[in-house]
Structures are given as C-alpha cells and as structure tokens.
Symmetry: C2
C-alpha cells in the first residue's frame, strides 16, 4: 500500500471483508505443527528460522484475501537472531505480494536519533524492514513519538501507541491515578493533536491508532471518547480471555457495521489443537476452520454490538 494512507487502506479492506480480524503472527516454536518442524527447533539452530519461514508462508497463503491485516510479533523473530530477522524480512515481502497489510508489533520507544533509527528501520518508504504500521511505547514521552509520527505522515504508514494493555500488570503504570485520571488517559490526551493531523482523506480515520486490550472494554469506550478518530488495536481477544462483544466496545457505527479498529487473535487462531498434524490437507482444513470461526465471531459482533 506504499504511499496510500494507512487508515484509509485498512478500513477499506475491513469494510470489504465485513470483519475486523487481525491475524497475529506469533510463531511459538513449541506450537509449530509437525508438518513444518525442522531440526532441533532450538532458537540457535539455523533450521529453526527455515521452519518458521515455511510455517508462516503457508499461514499467510491461507490468510490472503480473508483478513485485512496481519501482525507479526517481533520478539518471536528476534529470538532466532539475525536469521529470524531475515525470516521477518521475507515475511514482509510475502505479505506485500499477497496484498496483506502488515502491522509490526515491536513496541519500540526511544529518543532523538535512536527513535529516528526505528522510524527508518520500519516505517520509511525505503525501510529495510518496512511494515505498514508499527506499535509504539509512550513511556519516554511525546517527543519520543515524533520521529515515527513524522515518518507516518510522510510515508503513509501508521502507528499504534500503547494506552491500556491487556495484561493484569497494566494497572501498575497505566492506571496510576494522576490529577483525576489514570496515566493512560493523559497519554491519550497528548495524542489528540497529532491524531487529528494524520486523518485519512477517504475515511476520516487517523493513521495514529492506539492499543486497548479486549480485557478492558470500559477503557476502550473511554479511549474512543478521548480519541474519536483513532483506530484501536485490540489484543487479548481469544486466548487471553476477551470476548468478541467486549473486543469491539470502542467501535462506532460505520457504513458496513461497527468499525474503528482491528481485533487481534494470535495463538487461538494459528494453533488450534487440530492443526498439530503432519498432514498438509489436515493442517489447511484446521487453519481454515479456525479462521472461519474467528471471522464469524467478529462479524457478528460488529453487526449486533
């Protein structure tokens, strides 16, 4: 989607498909099906990266045309060293060829020239590991987000800033009370202006999105009030216990059902028990069934919520 506005591109696809499922690509080594396993599957074994590549090639082949967005989790590639990052590079190219939008979940955050380095690594038009969007951690403050916001504006890319994450420990910093509101709400307020500056011409949705866990639906509603034009990336649906109705609580009525974000499923989607097989046809059927179930669940939620 080089050059196209990220939020416009994403929402156009979500509307056309009729559901907001984002497929999380977390290649857990212990869960990769026998069909794709090679060698020892230890992180340091060069064949492990090959196994991850062949697994994800097969996965994105099945996802193409059925989901708008995939979300590779950077840690699962980094744990394989540089060969893992090369596998990520190849995955990004594969997704581009299949017209799947990619949100790289790396939760980067740093200052000055280092933040510019992350923008150059993942968002700029000639980035070696160019994704369509990147997750960012706001602990270092507004100035730490600027280089990626600037690059998002120039390259048509998107960012998703962590507000309220799906884990229990998100209360420790994010929920700390400060001047009448939790810390994460102050972060949200600080994003209002750059969010408006990155609104897409076609849909009115901003390329500056936010992250709010499916396990915290009330906070998703509040985030929607504070940032009416921000897309919400909603993790924690499925394996972490958030239901579909809760996952879309921050969504608003749109031309094709409720919209305003994407709901991520990683482990439950990629590794249903039936997919633990060494037979290609069985694996394909299991992945398709898992995908169909998640799509159906979320399509109902945006239709009825």
């Amino acid at each position: 989607m080089q050059g196209e506005h990220f939020a416009d591109a994403l929402i156009a696809r979500v509307r056309a498909l009729g559901h907001p499922l984002c497929a999380g690509l977390d290649p857990h080594l212990a869960l990769i099906p026998p069909l794709f396993r090679r060698g020892s599957m230890a992180p340091g074994d060069p064949r492990t990266a090959e196994a991850v590549e062949s697994f994800l090639d097969a996965v994105v082949e099945r996802l193409a045309g059925r989901v708008a967005l995939v979300k590779p989790q950077s840690a699962f590639f980094e744990q394989l060293g540089w060969r893992g990052v090369r596998a990520l590079d190849r995955l990004l190219a594969r997704c581009r060829a299949l017209d799947l939008l990619v949100l790289l979940d790396a939760k980067r955050g740093d200052i000055g020239s280092t933040a510019e380095g992350y923008a150059r690594a993942y968002l700029s038009a000639d980035a070696p590991l160019r994704a369509d969007a990147l997750t960012l951690n706001p602990y270092l403050g507004r100035d730490s987000l600027e280089p990626c916001l600037k690059e998002a504006g120039q390259a048509g890319a998107g960012v998703f800033v962590l507000l309220k994450t799906s884990n229990p420990g998100s209360r420790d910093v994010q929920d700390r009370p400060s001047e009448g509101a939790p810390v994460w709400e102050h972060v949200a307020r600080s994003l209002a202006e750059p969010c408006d500056a990155l609104v897409g011409p076609a849909t009115g949705w901003s390329a500056l999105g936010v992250v709010v866990g499916a396990t915290f639906p009330a906070q998703a509603e509040r985030a929607r009030e504070l940032l009416p034009r921000s897309l919400q990336l909603v993790p924690g649906y499925g394996a972490q216990g958030g239901g579909a109705a809760d996952a879309v609580r921050g969504f608003v009525p749109g031309p094709a059902g409720r919209e305003g974000g994407v709901v991520n499923s990683s482990r439950a989607l990629l590794f249903p028990p039936e997919a633990a097989t060494d037979r290609a046809a069985h694996w394909e059927a299991a992945l398709d069934a898992s995908l169909t179930a998640a799509i159906g669940d979320l399509a109902s939620a945006i239709a009825t919520a």
Copy 2:
C-alpha cells in the same frame, strides 16, 4: 562473563579501571569516518552493514581493556535490516572475545510469551544475540518484566529498567504526579523486592539496574534512596549536556572512589571532529584522545564528587 553475576563482574572491572565510563556504540551512518565508509551508505545497501562492522571492529579494539562496558543501541542495527542484526551478532562475539561486557540498549517491553521471547533473544545462556545486560521499558507493568528478571537470575545477566530518561519529554509520563510522587518513583518502588533478590555475592550490587538521565541529577539521588543496591545507567552525559559531576550524583562511596553505576557517552566519544578522516593513524589517535578525555573527566568526578 557467562555465568558470573553481572553486577559483580561490572563493578569489579569499574574498580580496576578507576572510572565508570560506558561506551555507547551508536553507529550513526552519517558520522562514520571516511576511513570505514563503503558504497552508498544507504540503510538498504548491503555494504552499509559491512561498513558498520568494520567501524565497530576498530572501535572495540581500541576500547578493550580501557572500558568495562559497551552499549550498542539496537535501533542503529535494526535500521539496516537483517544484515544490521547480523552485524550486531558479530559485534557481540567480538566483544566477548575482547572481554568487554555488553549492555544491549533495546528498551524492550512486552507481556507473557512475548516478553519470554525477548528474554530468550538477548539474555538466556543460549540466546542467539546474548548480551550481558538489556534495557527494559516498564510501561506494561511489573508482570511484563518478570521473564527477563527470571532469566537474569538464571543466566547471571543484568537488566536496566527505565525510570527517568534524559529527554525533555520524560516529564510527560515519568513525572506525572500520582499519590504524592511522580510515576517513575512508583516504578522504582515496585522494583525494590526483585532488586534485592538479584544482589551479587561479591559486591552487594544488584543485577537489576535502572536508567536515570545525567540531565536529572536530583532524580538520580532520589533513585539511589529508593533503590540503594541498583546500579544506575546514566545516559545524557556529553552530547546531551549533562556534566560529569551531575552524571555521578546517584553514586555512593566505594573502595575505589564513588561507585554505583556507569555513565554512557556515545556520540561525543565515538565521533570527535578529528576522527572524520580517511587515515587510520589519525583516526586511532582521535579516538584514543576522545576516550582518554572522557575517562579522565569521569575518573575525576568519582574521586572528588
């Protein structure tokens, strides 16, 4: 130092050398001296990673035996794609061979199995990109730090958790007032227990360190009160404007001068104007002079502060 306790190993070296300088390895592409440049020096050009490798090989050769710790900044490698991460891999091996301790500045932070992925990538005994220590971002809460703390305990590695960073924007989240104290102090309090659990047998310093910018000396003193056994990583000395006396304000009297952390210099140390040359002897002299100046400055500060 595989197996040895990180803080014990680091402080033993700092005492022997008589200064707390940490050499930040931030290979700014635009600043790499003519002597080492290859090809276009664009991030996507494969020769750029080779240039970075040859530059850093020469740098760590000069640092060996003179500094206790080097701090590669992950973004500068990631911006070169997988070839940059391979350059980081080779740098880590080179530093091990030269007996230089390595703190990887990656500011990672995530939850559950993803946080475990980062621990496996950088801290575990068989990590493909094993460093002696890693910087962590605490925005996702105490549970997000657990996997790396656990790995630090098992592998003898260290972590440095961001408290109060050196940039102006650090006020936005870190200084937010909450129940009588800024957010960063609450983060510090939440680290007291794991900090004590990771104290080294030889020195009493903990493998759980913290980050406090040289630009905020009063906060460094406060962090020392809250976490008496945490080593402080102090960025922002030199190029960012913090002086040596301010940089060691969180240090305490020790057997060889004030101790309790390391002070990082990146750009001012690696790229003095005189080093912009294509003559090897000139470059070596310029780097040595820059190193000698920083060492002298910090050695005085711990002797007199």
